[in-house]
């Protein structure tokens, strides 16, 4: 948005305000959608039950009711907790989520910032949440939180590598770190010379796609990688001492991060906001693009949550072994193969 929105000339502060509001919407709405569709309904249907049905038609307002419930709870801070860090931790985790969406394109002109280091910045920003988790674990003055925080530190750092390496394959194939450029490369690519539907990188980077999804599952601390938040052992790990609004921030943050990573996966592998037969600079895509992206996010989210509800969790040494001994070598081989094939074809 270089100062033009629907033909209006906006000054810098007006554009910035719109960007702030836009990112709030872009984070909260998908988070709410994810919570309702996947956590309340899909999980329930997989378990032969109905989920919330009373709040609103088919339980659609349940999340609002839960927000209201959390807002009116007592703000309990443990006596020995480090107060400032205890208060700070959820905001750090949320900050990294909001910042992830700065580089996300929603349409040909619908983006917050068109940076040439798009995906690189996004991956770097996603690591900031590790600090928030560690702070939460230490500042809670609770042994369970401590164990959870330390597990999280090891896990989140270990799985950053497969995440980045899977993306490197995409970047090599697209030739650019810019997310708009990656969308364009997929839209204009060809599959064996057939240029009709473009070349979504999920076809050529299938291995990278799965590595990225597994690493996302681990970055979100979802089962089977939810050792930091292992509910049956350490009572929600680093989140144990948080209640009320602060817990709500972590909860929404978890689903918002899931939405953000799903959006990144959709952009990198499924073609982002672009649709096969519509031109890239068509103005319709400024309105339809976000919807298309949301649909693809739901698809990726379905995969993430389907795996989440089915599998038990790894022990953290098995988790680490899986990352270092299997995922990283596989993604390195993927990069090698991509490089060779890119040069050859």
């Amino acid at each position: 948005m270089d100062g033009l929105l629907f033909g209006l000339e906006l000054s810098y502060w007006q554009a910035s305000l719109l960007r702030v509001l836009g990112v709030l919407v872009a984070v909260i709405l998908p988070a709410g959608g994810f919570v309702y569709v996947f956590l309340f309904k899909m999980m329930s249907f997989m378990q032969s039950r109905l989920g919330p049905m009373e709040a609103g038609p088919y339980g659609s307002i349940q999340l609002l009711a839960e927000v209201g419930k959390f807002l009116q709870k007592e703000d309990i801070v443990p006596e020995r907790a480090d107060r400032r860090l205890f208060f700070l931790a959820p905001y750090i985790v949320l900050a990294s989520t909001f910042l992830l969406l700065v580089v996300m394109p929603f349409g040909p002109d619908a983006y917050f910032a068109n940076l040439d280091t798009g995906i690189f910045l996004a991956l770097g920003l996603s690591s900031v949440s590790v600090i928030g988790v560690l702070i939460a674990g230490w500042a809670s003055a609770n042994k369970y939180s401590l164990i959870g925080g330390l597990r999280a530190a090891g896990q989140l750092i270990a799985y950053e590598l497969p995440l980045v390496l899977a993306v490197v394959g995409v970047v090599i194939q697209a030739g650019t770190l810019n997310l708009q450029g990656i969308v364009a490369a997929q839209h204009q690519g060809e599959i064996f010379g057939f240029a009709g539907i473009g070349n979504p990188f999920v076809l050529t980077q299938l291995v990278g796609f799965f590595v990225f999804l597994i690493a996302t599952q681990a970055e979100l601390t979802q089962p089977p990688f939810d050792m930091p938040v292992a509910e049956s052992e350490i009572v929600t790990g680093y989140i144990t001492e948080y209640s009320g609004l602060r817990f709500l921030l972590f909860f929404i943050g978890e689903f918002a991060t899931a939405g953000a990573f799903a959006a990144i996966a959709a952009t990198l592998f499924l073609g982002g906001w672009a649709v096969p037969f519509v031109e890239l600079d068509d103005n319709v895509m400024n309105v339809a693009g976000p919807l298309v992206l949301f649909g693809k996010m739901m698809l990726v989210g379905f995969l993430i949550f389907w795996v989440r509800f089915t599998f038990p969790r790894f022990r953290e040494d098995q988790l680490q072994a899986f990352a270092w001994k299997y995922l990283i070598p596989i993604s390195l081989v993927n990069i090698l193969a991509t490089m060779v094939l890119k040069v050859a074809f």
């Binding site: 999980m43 089962p223 292992a230 509910e231 350490i234 509800f309 953290e316």
Partner: protein, 390 residues
């Protein structure tokens, strides 16, 4: 001037009382993690005090007793039907199984034998309570390890068994159906056919669990090789049930003890597994549920006709004597030692509960394991707090 050890301890305690140092971190054994009476993993009010070195347990103490309800004292001041009501609530998941050894002990003292139809229906309900108990175990096992979905399938499919128990006894969880000399009432019309249909559902449930939980590579990595109990250790700690059979010891009171239940007239198999780790214990329990469905099918097919109550006086006074009867309950071997002095109620009842012995091996087993393995081991040992504490 050097301080004596008593003086050192005094200073440390004084500083700890001030809140200036954390006395636990000062000791060499490591951080004390109190998985206290309230914890999602300990199946109830069990307290586990574990000393950790990083993520490894150096020692673990199991403290039970938070649910002690004084059963043996309660039984001293109640009559036999009232005691039957109470003992339902010891192992509350397979509750008919608690009544059976007590009633059999009282029948042995009275020298009265229940008619064959009553014995067969007792066996059917005994096996149904085993299915109800162990199918919940399988769901709960998956839940402890992180998979949220199998627990719901367990509760959903277990409803069929509970409905069958309800339609004959009136209570889903506390049947209170066994009486000295037989049973309270006979089966309602259509019950046999419904039970056989329920058994078909339960077999489908076992297949589903095998695919969803037991075949899952993550589950196998979590449970194989974890918490190995050698056979001689299992026997010396007095383990019973699937914990013993999972270590390869072929011991099943249904086959080995002759208490009158109909097992000797049926064709069934005792399942054992040689490995002795958590996976083998869980696997044995799954096979036991399958076997129990087959046993119930055979019992339903061959149910003899006749009465369900022997001739006993209206007010039952059990003659003087002592009797001990132990049966293979869902949790292990449960026994009742009944001392009677000729009254309408027992003089003393000693309850040998399976879970009390099962949990005693936990502190030996938990040395040197990781924290997540504590959960796996406790889940695979499978105890019910009401059974430990009575």
């Amino acid at each position: 001037m050097t301080l004596t050890e008593a003086q050192q301890l005094g200073y440390i305690n004084a500083q700890a009382a001030d809140g200036r140092i954390n006395v636990e971190l000062e000791t060499d054994d490591g951080m004390v993690l109190n998985m206290g009476p309230q914890h999602p993993a300990t199946h109830g009010t069990l307290r586990l005090v574990a000393r950790l070195d990083g993520e490894q347990v150096t020692s673990a103490d199991v403290m039970c007793g938070y649910m002690h309800r004084g059963y043996e004292k309660l039984c001293e001041v109640r009559s036999y039907p009232q005691v039957t009501t109470l003992v339902n609530r010891i192992d509350w998941l397979g509750s008919f199984a608690n009544e059976v050894p007590f009633i059999l002990a009282a029948e042995q003292l009275m020298e009265v034998e229940a008619p064959p139809r009553a014995m067969w229906i007792r066996t059917i309900l005994f096996e149904l309570s085993r299915i109800a108990n162990v199918s919940l175990f399988i769901g709960d096992l998956a839940l402890q390890l992180g998979a949220q979905t199998p627990a719901f399938y367990a509760f959903r499919d277990r409803e069929f068994v509970l409905n069958q128990i309800e339609s004959v006894t009136g209570g889903r969880f506390h049947p209170n159906f066994d009486r000295i000399g037989g049973l309270k009432d006979d089966l309602p019309k259509g019950w046999i056919a419904e039970t056989k249909a329920a058994m078909v559902r339960l077999r489908g449930f076992c297949d589903e669990m095998e695919g969803l939980v037991y075949g899952n590579e993550i589950f196998q990595t979590r449970t194989r090789g974890v918490g190995i109990i050698p056979a001689h250790v299992a026997q010396s700690y007095g383990l019973s049930g699937a914990n013993l059979r999972g270590s390869g010891v072929d011991w099943d009171l249904r086959r080995d003890a002759n208490v009158g239940l109909a097992y000797d007239q049926l064709d069934w198999k005792v399942w054992t597994h040689p490995d002795g780790d958590s996976y083998s214990r869980c696997w044995v329990r799954l096979q036991e549920v399958r076997e129990a469905t087959k046993i119930v099918d055979q019992l339903c097919d061959g149910l003899p006709g006749g009465g369900i109550m022997a001739k006993v006086p209206r007010i039952i006074k059990v003659p003087e004597g002592e009797a001990y009867i132990a049966t293979e309950n869902p949790l292990g071997a449960m026994g009742y030692y009944v001392v009677s002095k000729g009254d309408t109620g027992p003089f003393r009842v000693k309850i040998r509960s399976a879970s009390f012995n099962n949990i005693s091996v936990a502190s030996w087993l938990l040395r040197g394991v990781y924290v997540p393995d504590i959960i796996t081991i406790l889940a695979s040992l499978y105890f019910i707090l009401g059974d430990i504490d009575r």
